[in-house]
Subunit: 339 residues, 2 copies
DNA sequence: CTGAAAGCGCTTACAG
DNA sequence: CTGAAAGCGCTTACAG
């Protein structure tokens, strides 16, 4: 029962104008007399005509589609970012073609290649790195790429992150000021820039203070891995009195393990996370954490990618947005501590 | 520095064959001699050629794009579903064009219209209803629509839900069997079929048992609304001894409120949710809930939409998948209770 | 199996 | 402002 698609030619016939006239009426900025506009709009309404975006994309070379590669959707940070990203892009007349990837390099590559087959105007990768081969390929095709919440030095791409090194420092300073003596770190995935930077910032402060971390392991940004790490951390005869965890998602797992072992976060063991996802503010966790200002990060990503798309020649930029420490009850607050 | 796009004509020239030959080599099922295939593949590789999906879509009338409308991304149920949906569709060579919507009818309508402009092969709406006007329009265009986690009687669309009425019954039976006497219900949004069905099932059991609900309010599927509802529920001189909450996302808010008031879920007040999102299984909540088998729901949605796309004339179906009660510690378990 | 040609539904110079 | 025409990059009958 599929009604034949109505095209601009159908509208033209009904309105008694040329097909080009119809096109102009639907092209912002094109010129048409009020009378033509009127006739065309009426005919279009009667016929239920809407321009075929794909055809427009073919001839104009602009698809108004942004490819988005995401992973780690269990981590609340990403759905929240995705929602805002989609809204911001929709408001500008762009839409998101979404690809889910594993966190392996290969996974992202295959997916980005497919993205390019769709003639996307730009690509945003969230929490995913891509190979330099593919980087070259995107660059050659003139497709801007923005790395979201991940940096990649060699790529020549734009990136938007929080000040991860600085965030790691803040966590360490806070924990040190709290008088903790056995500070452990369950790090973010060491295969990612964010995991490495947070850890490096954290270590830099400890080192300058002459403190050796109680323990340091890679939590891989995975809930189950963090659970296992936390179990082992508290299994020995001496335990950490503080744990800096590479992101909130893992910190929740750590807090669950502590409580099940009868340890109270904030009292027996201080826990500091990274991100400040909504859940971190819920009473069940009330997690002290370094906030990644997701809204500002998204806005920056949108701004930079649109600039590169709409003003060819715009240079890629590496944007870092400061994150601040959010004090809650999961970690002891140093006497007289002021941000 | 944008290298000119390489087209099938470029490849043809280099391979010394016609443009049609190149097209055939890249069209699954088309005929080409081994020698042609060899020459074309080599030339394509050397040039870095990949078919333009948009051009293919235009002529074939198949975009291999599925439009997805989502909302409520803070509720963990949806990101989890989205991830699996995207993976399942990618595996079949389809991709998702994502639109975020508010939960208002108008929002979804505007968005679905835009989706159709992209010539999507099908539309999946998660947690969003669409108007009958738009339903007509999608039907007329022959675009299958699948409602995910939402039903809509009049639309003639496919839908995939869990057995919501039955789920509401189960919750009520469980709570009654547990000897609770003041059972409240913070319902899912009454503007949605899921919210209404769960409530109706719940009420049907209470009614047959001659029990009047202690209180019944609409939590709108919103965390903050549920927080407020819970506060009021426990503010009076008599309190509920059990609360059935329309989904897990709201149940978490309820548990937070109870604890902050010094009430222990599962002991002072039983809480039962709906969904069984991953967080429900984490120790901090350990929420008793009716599981919506998200994987099976997604698989059913994919199956039905692909059937309708690839075999025109396939009738829409309303699929209901059974959800079972998951026992955890947030609600008292009746003596000798067996599922 | 293969090439020449038409056509998918648009936008955009080009003349008028 | 407007129409005729070319062209975006493909697929697909149609002959051979």
């Amino acid at each position: 029962m599929e009604r034949a698609k109505v095209t601009s030619a159908d509208v033209a016939a009904r309105a008694g104008v040329s097909q080009s006239a119809v096109s102009r009426v639907f092209t912002p900025g094109a010129s048409a007399s009020p009378k033509t506009v009127e006739k065309v709009r009426r005919a279009a309404d009667e016929l239920g005509y809407r321009p075929n975006v794909l055809a427009r994309a073919m001839v104009s070379g602009k698809s108004r589609i942004i490819g988005l590669v995401v992973a780690y959707l269990e981590n609340q940070f990403y759905p929240v970012a995705l929602e805002r990203l989609s809204n911001a892009l929709q408001a500008q007349g762009y839409h998101i073609l979404i690809f889910t990837a594993t966190n392996s390099i290969d996974g992202a590559d295959a997916v980005v290649q497919e993205l390019m087959d769709y003639q996307v105007d730009g690509i945003i990768t969230a929490s995913v790195a891509i190979s330099s081969t593919l980087a070259d390929s995107a660059n050659a095709a003139g497709i801007p790429v923005v790395l979201f919440n991940r940096g990649q030095d060699d790529s020549g791409f734009s990136s938007v992150t929080s000040t991860n090194f600085e965030g790691g420092r803040k966590a360490a300073e806070f924990l040190l000021a709290g008088g903790h003596e056995r500070i452990a770190h369950i790090a973010g995935w060491q295969g990612s820039s964010t995991g490495r930077d947070r850890q490096a910032g954290f270590l830099s402060v400890l080192q300058r203070a002459g403190v050796t971390p109680f323990a340091m392991v890679d939590g891989m940004y995975k809930h189950e891995v963090a659970t296992e790490c936390a179990r082992q951390l508290i299994a020995g005869s001496t335990r950490p009195d503080a744990i800096f965890v590479g992101n909130d998602h893992m910190a929740f797992a750590v807090m669950d393990v502590l409580r099940q072992a009868g340890l109270e976060p904030g009292k027996d063991v201080s826990v500091v996370g990274y991100d400040d996802v909504p859940l971190a503010g819920w009473a069940a966790y009330d997690l002290t954490t370094i906030r990644q200002p997701v809204n500002r990060m998204v806005d920056a990503a949108v701004e930079t990618i649109l600039a590169q798309i709409e003003t060819p020649g715009t240079a890629p930029q590496q944007i870092e947005i400061e994150g601040k420490l959010i004090l809650r009850s999961s970690a002891r607050i140093p006497e007289g501590w002021t941000q």
